[in-house]
Amino acid sequence: MSIRRASVIVALAVGMTAPVVHAQAPLPLDPLTPPERAVAESVARGDRRVREALGAEAQLVSIQFVAPKAADAQLDVPARRHAEVLFFLPPSNAGLAVLVDLEGRQVVDLVRAPGESVPLSGEEVERAVRLALADRRVVQLFDGVLPGFRPERLPPGIRDTSHTRVEAIRTLATGPSDPCYRRRCVVLFFRVENRYMHLNQVFVDLISNRVIMRTPQK
C-alpha cells in the first residue's frame, strides 16, 4: 500500500529555480510559514506521480510541518525543512501523504494510508452539513423550521461559539451491520445559543453521501 520514493523524483516548473526565500528565515522546528505552505502544495501537485495517484476527485486535507529523520539520523533535528501534504482520495477511501523537501523543492516520498487515518477536510464537513440540512427528517427534528444553522468550518476553535451552528465529529462503526462500517461517517451536533440539540441522532456517510438517522440515547 505504500509507494516509497527512494530518491529525488522530479524537476518542477515551480521548483529547481531557487531555494525558498523567507523574509525571516524559520528555524528548523518552526511551524510552516505561509510561503512554505504554498510551495509545499505547489510542489506536491506538480509532481507527476502525485498527480497520477490523486486523480480528479482528490481533496486536500492538510499541509503540516514535519521533521522526518534520516535512517541514520545523528542530528538533533533534520538539516532541511519538510512539509507533509495530505490528500484524501474518495474513490478508494484512502489517503496520500506527500513528503516535500521545501529547500530542494521536491517530493521525496509519497505513502498511501487507509482512509480511516485521514482527517476530514473542510469540504467534507460542509458537505455533511449541507446534506443533513436538506434532509426532511432532520428538518422534522426542529418542528419543520431550521434555526439558520451554519456549517462550522475548520478550525472551529478560533471563532465565535455563540452563533447557531452545526459541528461534527468523526465516528467509527459498531460492527459490520452498521451502515458506517468501513465508511467515512460523521455525527452532527446542532448548537443553538450554546446548547446542543438532538445529539448523536444525525449521522452522514461521506462516501455514499447518505444521511443516517439514529434513535436518540436515553
Binding site: E84, L120, P156, I169, L172, Y196, N200
Partner: protein, 358 residues
C-alpha cells in the same frame, strides 16, 4: 524580535549539522515556540529544560523537541523528538457513536487571562492557544525538619471538540519528570457512559535518535519474595499493562550512563483509574512499540504499524493508550468538570544521586 536577535537565530539554522558540543547550545525554534526554564526559579540553578512546541489541528499541543540538563555543568540530554496526542477515541456504552476526535482535526480554542492568569502564567501563540505556567508543585521531598518544595514548567492548550473541551497538557518538572495529561470537560452528549481514550505517540530519542531500547519492567511475587523482571521488547507490537505488576515501560539508550556508570532510563508509568479495551484493534494494548517512520502518526493505525520489525536498539516510538471511564452523573447535567488521565515519564539512574538535595 530585534534585528540582531533575528540575525543570531538565523545563524543557528545550520546548527543541526554541527558536532554535539556546539549543537547542544543550539536553539531549534523561534519565539514563542521556544521555551527554556531553569530550576529553581530563585537561587542557584540546578536543572534546566529547553523545548519546542507547536499546535496542530487535531493533535493540538505537540512537543517537537525537549532536552534536559541535570546540572549546570552537565551536557544537555535529548529526551523527546516528538510527543503528541495521536488519537482520542470515545466509544459510548450503547455501541454508537464511537468518536475519533483527533481524526476530525479539531482546532484549539483561544485562551484568556481567566484560563491562564499571569504572572506567572503567559499566553503564547498567534491565536493565544497555549498557556505557559511555572509553578510550585508541592513537596519534592521531606524528612522531619529537612524539606524541599519542587517546581514545574507546564504548557497546555485546549482542543475545542464540539460538546467537549479537552485540555492537552505537558509538564516538565525540576527533577526531570515529564507528565502528559488529557483533561475532559464540557457538555455531555446524553446520559450514556462512555470512555475518553487518548493514545499518545511518544517519539523518545534518548540521547539522540540512534540505538534506543524499550523494556517492560514487571513486579511479581512468589511466596514472600518479590522480583522485578526487565524484558526487552525485541520486535514491534503491543504490550499489556498490569496493575498488580506495577508495569512500567522503560526506554534506554545504548550508551547513556550516569555518573555511577549505570545505564540511564526514562520509565513510563501510567497514571490511571482503569485501562480501556474495546473491539478496535488499536485499543487492545496499553503500550505499543514501533520503529520510527515519518508517516506513521495515527493512533488508530498503530496495530498496522506494528508489523514485526526489530526494535531493539533502533529508532523506536512508544505509544501509550489510556482512558477515562465517564459514568454520567447528575453533577454533569450542566457542565462536566475536568477529569484527567495520563502518564509519567520518570528518570531512572539519570542522576548519580538524589536531585534537588540537599
Amino acid at each position: 524580535m530585534t534585528g540582531a536577535g533575528r540575525g543570531a537565530l538565523v545563524a543557528l539554522v545550520s546548527a543541526a549539522a554541527l558536532p554535539g558540543g556546539a549543537r547542544a547550545q543550539a536553539q531549534f525554534c523561534s519565539t514563542p515556540y521556544y521555551v527554556e526554564q531553569g530550576f529553581p526559579t530563585a537561587g542557584a540553578e540546578q536543572t534546566r529544560w529547553k523545548l519546542c512546541w507547536r499546535v496542530l489541528a487535531g493533535n493540538n499541543l505537540v512537543i517537537s523537541g525537549a532536552w534536559f540538563r541535570p546540572a549546570p555543568t552537565a551536557n544537555w540530554i535529548k529526551l523527546i523528538y516528538d510527543a503528541r496526542l495521536a488519537e482520542l477515541f470515545v466509544p459510548y456504552h450503547a455501541g454508537s457513536p464511537r468518536y475519533l476526535d483527533v481524526g476530525y482535526n479539531f482546532g484549539s480554542y483561544p485562551l484568556d487571562v481567566i484560563d491562564c492568569p499571569g504572572p506567572p502564567g503567559v499566553i503564547l501563540g498567534a491565536n493565544n492557544e497555549v498557556c505557559k505556567q511555572v509553578r510550585d508543585r508541592g513537596l519534592a521531598w521531606k524528612h522531619d525538619g529537612q524539606k524541599r518544595r519542587g517546581e514545574e514548567l507546564v504548557l497546555w492548550s485546549v482542543m475545542a471538540a464540539a460538546n467537549y473541551n479537552y485540555v492537552v497538557e505537558w509538564t516538565f518538572r525540576d527533577d526531570g519528570v515529564v507528565l502528559g495529561r488529557l483533561g475532559a470537560t464540557g457538555q455531555i452528549a446524553g446520559s450514556n457512559t462512555h470512555v475518553h481514550g487518548p493514545i499518545w505517540r511518544l517519539d523518545l530519542d534518548l540521547n539522540g535518535a540512534c540505538c534506543d531500547a524499550i523494556s517492560t519492567v514487571t513486579h511479581s511475587e512468589v511466596g514472600a519474595t518479590g522480583v522485578d523482571t526487565h524484558t526487552d521488547v525485541q520486535i514491534e507490537g503491543g504490550r499489556v499493562w498490569s496493575a498488580t505488576g506495577f508495569r512500567k515501560f522503560a526506554i534506554r539508550d545504548q550508551s547513556l550512563v550516569n555518573a555511577s556508570n549505570k545505564t540511564s532510563h526514562w520509565q513510563l508509568m501510567p497514571v490511571v483509574t482503569g485501562i480501556p479495551l474495546h473491539q478496535e484493534l488499536f485499543t487492545k494494548y496499553t503500550g505499543w512499540v514501533t520503529r520510527y517512520r515519518w508517516n506513521e502518526m495515527a493512533g488508530s493505525q498503530v496495530h498496522i504499524y506494528a508489523n514485526g520489525e526489530s526494535v531493539l536498539y533502533r529508532d523506536v516510538v512508544l505509544w501509550y493508550y489510556g482512558g477515562l471511564h465517564h459514568m454520567v452523573r447528575d453533577e454533569d447535567a450542566g457542565m462536566t468538570h475536568l477529569m484527567w488521565t495520563g502518564f509519567m515519564l520518570m528518570p531512572f539512574n539519570l542522576f548519580g544521586s538524589t536531585p534537588l538535595y540537599p
